[in-house]
Symmetry: C2
Subunit: 353 residues, 2 copies
């Protein structure tokens, strides 16, 4: 992985996240947490109340940057992650998107091939310009040692929402669509690969040091479909990003991939992989950590519960990956009812303070 | 597995499911489908409309037996599975249970240790007597070559509903409860092990030839919790059943277990294991099928879609397990929108007709 470098290395040395992603064994490992900027923080809720809707916040660079910085100030994480949403891409492609209070995202579902053909890639970069401005502000405002993570949803996961129009227990509508009309679904993957490449390349140009691809719904796919709709589009996206000159490390996070994780690592070209909470350490170390940099995987609910159970689980993770390049994280995003003091205790435990 | 035998072997020879579960390689393999009796069948919907509520149907032996028989008449599956619900056990323990139309089960959530201590095991067998009568009627009514499967939820999965009071996207309430109060949660596991053993032993006494344990929510557990709340109670339940004289084969179905499946097989004592649709065949054959009899694992949505995609997936499953003892099934239950003619095509394909 020595060929990897931040696109802004001229201006700053690698932070601890970048070092680990490039293969350095750090003790303690770098730590950041998925959804570290969010509703569990009172300062987030306060700013969110002023911002109007959730999407307004995503598109307001000054406020989005402030929200991104809040957990850095509080906990001194090794990395900040851009405050945005994986569904900004469908919106940039022309699909109607809104958030129902307390219920999550809603989109006008894509009904078939004609709706997919109508998606317009020409507007993506302009539509998402406020996000790039947020990144730019962040790279200036962040402490020099703090790496900045840009992100997007993987094509499969974004497509599941575009087809269903919402989150569902197992994203059956998209799975069924793909079974019934794989040609139209492939066309959707192609559009998403290109749009997401444009989006992420611009994030890196604006100052992102690392990229993460969230494939939250990878785990609902059988092997053949996992290869076709999770691995192949991710591989195409990574290749497209490299072709666009992006050289920063890319973390793939195929949640629920289970025994398919080694195949994902071998075939997609990602530089590191996020492990979900169900991934057993005893299996991940020989089958995944021997091949790539791992990131994870504390159960977010243990962070809610706190106490000795959390401490034991943290120590088990640290011990399992001791002596390897590793990034400490949760196995999924922080949940809103997390007590902020537990996050502080977690950071201290990981850092041996 | 040669020590296993049906408790009613005196009266009938093993059917094809029993033979496969005892280690015979059958070509074609036996086939049955999870939720093969259900809403996708017009004859089920018709009878259901007459029965009143879903629970009324579960407790009406004549109608429950009729519903169980419907898919046997239509498709000639190698096995029938008792029509019942995994939440009859909480109800038998005294927890209030009802079904909201179109929304699924609701229970008065168990709030803590006192509510768990109040669960009453003394009434379980009497409360569930109509289920045993259904089994008895079925064993008489079924064709001699058709094996009869009894079932229950595994303690973990049943407990997730008892704590949350309903199905949730990831059963977080029960996971959090177990983190916060593992002593009370263990007490709940102990009650469920004993109640479920009583329930299943009585099903076998009434004529069930095979038992299946549904651990639908096993996949949300990290490794340590999977060992504690899925494996250990399942192992205790299997041991308790054997102590009660139950000798029929037991199929475990820890949905979403992923890379933890070999550990589940090695430690629980089940005689066969159900694979969910996400379990890769290329991994399951060397890591699971070499140790135990496998059952699975067509994606239920492929049965909805039908056509060439379904045929290819069926053939891939048959080829992967060729020459091993194997039971063809879905990787999860049939969904209501499944066209009944696709089920017929599936059975023909598996049987090479």
């Amino acid at each position: 992985m020595s060929a990897l470098q931040s696109d802004q290395t001229a201006s700053r040395p690698d932070g601890r996240l970048l070092k680990a992603l490039k293969g350095e064994c750090l003790s303690p490992p770098p730590i950041w947490l998925m959804r570290q900027a969010g509703r569990y923080l009172p300062e987030y809720r306060e700013l969110r109340a002023k911002a109007g809707g959730f999407l307004d916040l995503c598109y307001a660079p000054q406020m989005a940057a402030e929200v991104t910085l809040q957990p850095i100030r509080r906990y001194g994480f090794d990395a900040a992650i851009l405050f945005a949403d994986i569904l900004l891409i469908p919106q940039a492609l022309g699909q109607k998107l809104w958030f129902e209070t307390g219920e999550g995202p809603r989109l006008d579902p894509l009904e078939g091939g004609a709706a997919i053909a109508a998606l317009d890639i020409g507007n993506v970069e302009a539509h998402l310009a406020p996000v790039f401005e947020t990144v730019d502000r962040l790279r200036t405002a962040l402490p020099g040692e703090t790496d900045l993570i840009g992100f997007a949803g993987s094509p499969w996961t974004v497509a599941t929402y575009m087809i269903a129009g919402r989150g569902t227990p197992d994203q059956a509508p998209a799975r069924l669509f793909a079974y019934r009309d794989p040609v139209a679904f492939q066309a959707l993957m192609d559009v998403l690969v290109e749009a997401t490449a444009i989006y992420l390349a611009a994030q890196v140009k604006a100052g992102a040091d690392v990229l993460q691809l969230f494939d939250t719904w990878a785990g609902v796919l059988p092997e053949a479909e996992f290869a076709r709709w999770s691995i192949a589009p991710t591989k195409a996206l990574v290749a497209r990003l490299r072709a666009l000159g992006v050289r920063v490390p890319i973390i793939g996070f195929p949640k629920g991939a289970g025994a398919l994780l080694p195949r994902y690592v071998a075939e997609t070209g990602v530089d590191a992989v996020g492990l979900d909470p169900s991934t057993p350490l005893s299996w991940a170390v020989p089958h995944v950590a021997d091949k790539t940099v791992c990131q994870g995987n504390l159960d977010p609910l243990l962070l809610v519960a706190g106490g000795d159970g959390m401490v034991r689980a943290v120590d088990a993770i640290l011990e399992a990956f001791d002596g390897r390049p590793f990034v400490f994280n949760l196995g999924h995003g922080i949940v809103p009812q997390t007590p902020p003091e537990h996050v502080g205790q977690l950071v201290k435990r990981v850092r041996g303070e």
